[in-house]
């Protein structure tokens, strides 16, 4: 007996296994997905991570080559939904920047990305505004509204918001005191985290100011970032896999590495289902048409 759901009535007359495969209730598919994703999270299988992606390495090498004191802009645009993929990458990159002695400036392009900046501060350097290096090496500008318009204004003047997320005056901060231009020309790299197109960052920072862009993006977005790679985007992390690779590079294995088994088996399950669905489709079509193509 098959489950019955809205729009998915399952016939009861005698059918071949292939036809049944064609009409499999989606809830069996859902069940399979939940099993293959949750089991490896509870009991890791330990599939080796494999070869490092050139996109991840590109970003790592670029950050590694920056002289200490260089300013990096981190654009947090990860919604809570995309954070599972992007946040481990943000932590790993921030860790790398801290290790290299770089100066990091954060801003959130959406309101719900603000907590992820706090999270990065807490997990990487231990505290936020009360950290001794806050205002010297790290700054959190908080939420800047209107994506591209906000970024244009920030690019023209890094002190555009006048105060940081905690209400401190930016002009009093050591972070900005020795910057020669106080605009995007002083940035050595901008990194975008999120699940939206990266075009606006390239348009407002790379084209007019020559600032290279990096990314820690949701896997679905990777196809959209490739047109800019490797000329304008120096490297990027593709979803959870990219984040896991960066965690390994900075020797700080965390959530992303832990999630790799679940991702692997999830992908594998979907591929197997696609193949099964197609076998059923091919066989049942051949039976209906007596082996002839329409």
């Amino acid at each position: 007996m098959g489950m019955r759901g809205a729009g998915w009535a399952v016939g009861s007359e005698a059918k071949s296994i292939y036809e049944r495969l064609q009409e499999l209730d989606p809830r069996y598919v859902y069940l399979l997905v939940i099993i293959v994703i949750s089991l490896p999270l509870l009991r890791p299988v330990g599939i080796p991570l494999g070869t490092m992606s050139s996109e991840t390495l590109g970003l790592y090498k670029y950050i590694d080559s920056l002289p200490p004191g260089s300013v990096i802009l981190m654009i947090a645009d990860q919604s809570p939904a995309a954070a599972a993929e992007c946040q481990p990458g943000m932590l790993a990159i921030f860790q790398h920047a801290v290790n290299r002695g770089l100066r990091v400036m954060f801003f959130a392009a959406r309101t719900d990305a603000v907590p992820f900046i706090s999270d990065a501060f807490k997990k990487v350097i231990g505290s936020e505004a009360d950290h001794p290096d806050y205002g010297k090496r790290y700054v959190n500008l908080g939420f800047i509204p209107q994506y591209e318009v906000g970024l244009t204004a920030l690019a023209a003047n890094l002190l555009y918001t006048t105060r940081d997320a905690y209400g401190k005056e930016l002009k009093d901060m050591e972070f900005f005191s020795d910057l020669p231009n106080k605009n995007a020309r002083d940035l050595k790299l901008a990194i975008y985290y999120g699940a939206s197109a990266v075009d606006w960052v390239v348009r407002q920072l790379t084209d007019p100011y020559g600032v290279p862009v990096g990314g820690g993006v949701a896997a679905v977005l990777a196809s959209r970032i490739y047109p800019y790679y490797p000329d304008k985007v120096v490297g990027f992390l593709t979803g959870l896999k990219g984040s896991a690779e960066y965690e390994v590079l900075v020797k700080r294995p965390g959530e992303a590495v832990a999630g790799m088994d679940a991702q692997s088996l999830g992908h594998l399950a979907i591929v197997i289902m696609v193949i099964l669905g197609n076998i059923g489709y091919a066989v049942s079509r051949r039976r209906v048409q007596g082996g002839k193509r329409p």
Partner: protein, 268 residues
Amino acid sequence: MEKMIATGDVELSVRSGFNGALIMFIVSLAIIGLGIYMTVKGVLKPRIRRLPGVDALDECIGRAAELGRPVHYTVGLGGIYNEQVIAGLSIARYVARRCAELGVRFLFTFSAPTVQPVAVDLIKEAYLEAGKPEEFRPEDIMWLSDRQFAFATGVMGLVLREKAAANLLLGYFAAESLIFAEAGYRAGAMQIAGTTNSYQIPFFVTTCDYTLISEELITAGAYISKEPRQVGSILGQDYIRLIGLILMGVGAVLYALGWKTLTDWLGL
């Protein structure tokens, strides 16, 4: 080329003068203007290739009329300043008019509050044009939420509850695209989608009956109107494309031969 200027204590960096992008903009403006002029004057009579997705709109509405079920239309996440939403709205006007003519209930959803006043006016006008202003129901134009996934669940619930016969997804879509398409599938709706967000197109192509890919969505409004001024702009747009192709070809050859002036001049 950049120069620094000082305005008060704020330093601004602006692009100076005549760069390739600006020249391209002015040339584009001129070519599209010319395309419109030539078409309006009747010098050129452009023929637009068929867009099956747009042609299927009537089939969708007809099917909804036969089944006695509503048509659901959404422009997705973008605000009124988004070009995909503007394009979606110009198609919505046509769909709303046809729905009014055939007595089909038209459900319209959106996520950005800025779309509300515009959508109400537009759809009301469409009902007026169809000669049935009394059938216009403002409560069928629904702002559900400006949070992406709250909006997505709202749309999903609506499509399933109302058993929409057609699910039209034309506008700006992100990760919620598949939720919409899945809801349409479960409601047994005919689905037409369109977006320029390249990373959502694969989801639509695999799950919907028709997909307007990239510029097809933007030009659909002009395609439907068949008005010479609008058609002329599509002609101009195609000339720009042609020039772009030639520049790309020539640029690639010259670059390969080591002559990079053209590339530099275009600011690439």
